[in-house]
């Protein structure tokens, strides 16, 4: 299986190791991984800020870069949702691009969904040892139905103990540009998320979207928690480089 990795702009800038973890996971699942090197961003910041023209411009770029691949995998529910569910609507008045957007949409997968439902992995390279609480990111959960996929995968690691937090499906307060525009409200929501996560006493808070994870980690540290690790699910599943 040839899989193109859409690494996402946040992973590119903030946590390259997540990108490499995804490559290890996909290769362990028997995939040939291609990383189109001209990729930048899916355009979601523009789309969610109401700048439809910029969003469409970036969408065209992503479509052109990735439409040649049978599968596209992103370590983010939010970016995968953007390509799968929002790109076609951006080209409602442009039959050619609409068709290309639709053709790409169904081939784009969030990482854990791809591993469970497409690659049907059995063995994972990870060797994480400790307890984990899983934060369900909003777009993945409510738009792509990502809920049991990461849990099924984590359950395959013998060293992992999953401890569900109250309100696991509640938003962490990130919301992209919301986190900066309404920083005080965003941080207050993050505080609730962190408090909920901490009630489990888990060693690590794990999720599938780096935006949420940066928000949660930033709030945890500001609250004085120096020990709870905040990890992308790919890092846990893939183990050390």
């Amino acid at each position: 299986m040839r899989v193109a990795l859409f690494v996402t702009c946040l992973v590119d800038m903030m946590r390259p190791r997540i990108g490499f973890a995804v490559i290890r996971l996909l290769e362990a699942a028997g995939c040939e991984v291609i990383v189109p090197d001209s990729q930048t961003c899916c355009g979601q910041p523009a789309f969610n800020s109401g700048d439809r023209a910029s969003a469409a411009m970036l969408a065209k770029k992503v479509i052109a870069e990735f439409e040649g691949y049978e599968y596209v995998v992103a370590p983010s529910g939010s970016c995968a949702d953007q390509i799968r569910n929002e790109y076609p609507g951006l080209f409602a008045d442009d039959p050619e691009w609409h068709g290309r957007a639709v053709a790409l949409a169904s081939r784009v997968h969030e990482l854990t969904d791809f591993l469970v439902n497409v690659a049907r992995v059995d063995k994972l390279p990870g060797n994480f040892c400790g307890s984990i609480t899983y934060h369900d990111s909003c777009a993945g959960l409510r738009s792509l139905g990502i809920k049991r996929q990461p849990r099924q995968l984590l359950a395959k690691l013998p060293g992992v103990e999953l401890k569900e937090m109250p309100g696991a499906e509640e938003c962490c307060g990130f919301g992209g540009t919301f986190s900066v525009k309404f920083g005080d409200v965003s941080a207050a929501i993050a505080e609730r998320k962190c408090a909920n996560a901490c009630t489990t006493g888990a060693d690590a808070i794990v999720g599938g979207d780096l935006g949420c994870l940066l928000n949660i980690e930033g709030k945890l540290r500001r609250m004085g928690d120096e020990t709870t690790r905040v990890l992308h699910v790919a890092e846990v599943l893939a183990g050390d480089d």
């Binding site: 702009c9 439809r52 969003a55 909003c138 509640e170 005080d184 993050a190």
Partner: protein
């Protein structure tokens, strides 16, 4: 009601800085959410299919809105046939004029009101007072707010959800001049005793209307306190003030909407009272008003019909979207600055009052879609909020710096080589700021982030450059 939505950021900041409000919001947060979840679990356990119900509810509301004029005409003629008078109001001012005229015509000195958000839109209480007519709110929550110097409601079905027991106890002792009570049953009894005389004295009852039934010319009221029944049956005159979008074709349709509304709102299978009021008191009847008026209000609704925002008019005012909203849960309803708070308010306020009057509201959401998945009539609230953001951009209402930054960023992001240079520089700058630590405590370019939390430091290089290096 005076709109204060342009001060959203300041309102939100003061809500966050108010420890009493924060405590009250924490207390109430789980209640509505848990009750709704239980109600739907029970419904499913009894063999119901809530998703199918939501689908049917959305379809029904769409059907009505697609032919709204026809259903309104049908309602009007049915209502007239029952002896009611149907009046139309273009805006809040016309609502006030109609109601004051009716009051004067019937020599009304006191009007008992049951809950109506539309009367908040119109500022009806102030207009009645100015005309020398005393409005008395009889919904317990609304009553508490009225005696607290006409404080606005902070929630569409639980108007006083932002207050705690202590505040109400203090308020009652001060206003009623009675010994301070601390038990809820004592406080409600005290309110009932005060309200009883108002019910008996009132010459006019003013209610909202949860739904209007076109086939029978009836209004349906969904309440839990029973005050709605007193308001609509005791006084000589009953005035229903409601929005034009509330019409529903048949009683059968009403039953569908009631099943959706009540479970979504309070988590009950049915509310304590569901009143279906049809026409004036007949000679053989013992109670009911001698005069019944419907004031059907546009106030911005007609412009939304057939627009790209028509889905919003499906709203049946359950409040589930705000109950489940992380932003509402954090700051409460007053911060939104007008009648309707939370996600539905952030769509309705700019649509009814003007995009430029509520610049922040469409952005005051994480787009988590918790609202969308609980909405009983499947309104795609995040999508509507996003469309409003697009309208703001189209009309040049966003700050210039924001628009330019987005354009510049998108332009660079379409040029991979330039983007690579920019991001390499960016992550090195951030790493330098972190100074070897794993976090940045204060970020000059995004103080909104670091005022309330740290910014985790980047790893040091971009994925693209590291990957390219590994390939070599």
């Amino acid at each position: 009601m005076q709109i204060r939505s342009m001060f959203f950021k300041a309102n939100a900041a003061s809500a966050l800085a108010n420890p009493v409000l924060q405590g009250n919001m924490r207390m109430s947060k789980g209640k509505f959410v848990d009750k709704r979840r239980t109600a739907i679990t029970d419904f499913q356990a009894e063999g119901g299919d809530f998703e199918a119900l939501r689908e049917a509810g959305a379809e029904l509301r769409n059907r009505v809105l697609n032919d709204l004029d026809l259903w309104l005409e049908r309602f009007e003629s049915a209502a007239i046939a029952t002896g009611a008078t149907v009046l139309w109001a273009k805006d809040g001012a016309e609502v006030c004029r109609h109601v004051v005229d009716i009051a004067r015509r019937h020599g009304v000195k006191k009007a008992a009101k049951s809950k109506s958000m539309l009367s908040e839109e119109a500022g009806l209480n102030q207009a009645l007072e100015a005309a020398g007519i005393q409005p008395v709110e009889t919904d317990l929550g609304e009553y508490i707010l009225q005696i607290n110097d006409n404080e606005p409601p902070s929630h569409i079905i639980a108007p006083v959800v932002h207050k705690g027991l202590d505040e109400v106890a203090d308020l009652f002792a001060r206003v009623h001049k009675t010994p301070r009570k601390t038990e809820i049953p004592e406080l409600t009894r005290e309110a009932r005793e005060v309200l009883r005389q108002h019910f008996l004295d009132a010459d006019m009852g003013i209610s909202g209307g949860n739904f209007l039934v076109a086939e029978t010319g009836s209004v349906a009221l969904v309440t839990n306190e029973g005050n709605g029944r007193m308001v609509t049956t005791l006084p000589r005159v009953h005035v229903v003030v409601t929005g034009i979008e509330k019409v529903t074709p048949t009683l059968e349709d009403l039953s569908l909407l009631l099943r959706l509304l009540i479970r979504s709102a309070t988590g009950q299978s049915i509310s304590n009272y569901v009143s279906l009021l049809t026409g004036i008191k007949q000679p053989e009847e013992h109670d009911g008003p001698e005069h019944l008026y419907f004031v059907l209000v546009d106030n911005g609704r007609a412009d939304v019909v057939a627009s790209e925002f028509q889905d919003m008019l499906r709203c049946i005012r359950c409040g589930a979207c705000m109950n489940h909203c992380p932003v509402y849960q954090t700051i409460g309803g007053h911060a939104y600055g007008w009648v309707y708070p939370g996600p539905m308010g952030s769509v309705l306020t700019p649509l009814y009052m003007g995009l430029d009057k509520a610049i922040d509201l469409p952005h005051a959401a994480t787009l988590c879609n918790q609202c969308g998945v609980v909405c009983p009539v499947k309104i795609p609230l995040p999508e509507l909020l996003r469309k409003l953001r697009e309208k703001q951009v189209e009309k040049g209402l966003r700050p210039l710096m924001e628009r330019l930054t987005l354009k510049a960023w998108a332009w660079v992001a379409c040029r991979p080589k330039l983007y690579a240079v920019g991001t390499r520089f960016g992550v090195r700058y951030l790493s330098w700021l972190a100074g070897g630590r794993d976090r940045i405590g204060a970020l000059g370019i995004a103080p909104g982030w670091t005022d309330g939390r740290d910014f985790p430091a980047p790893q040091g290089k971009t994925f693209r450059e590291m990957h390219a290096a590994r390939q070599r």
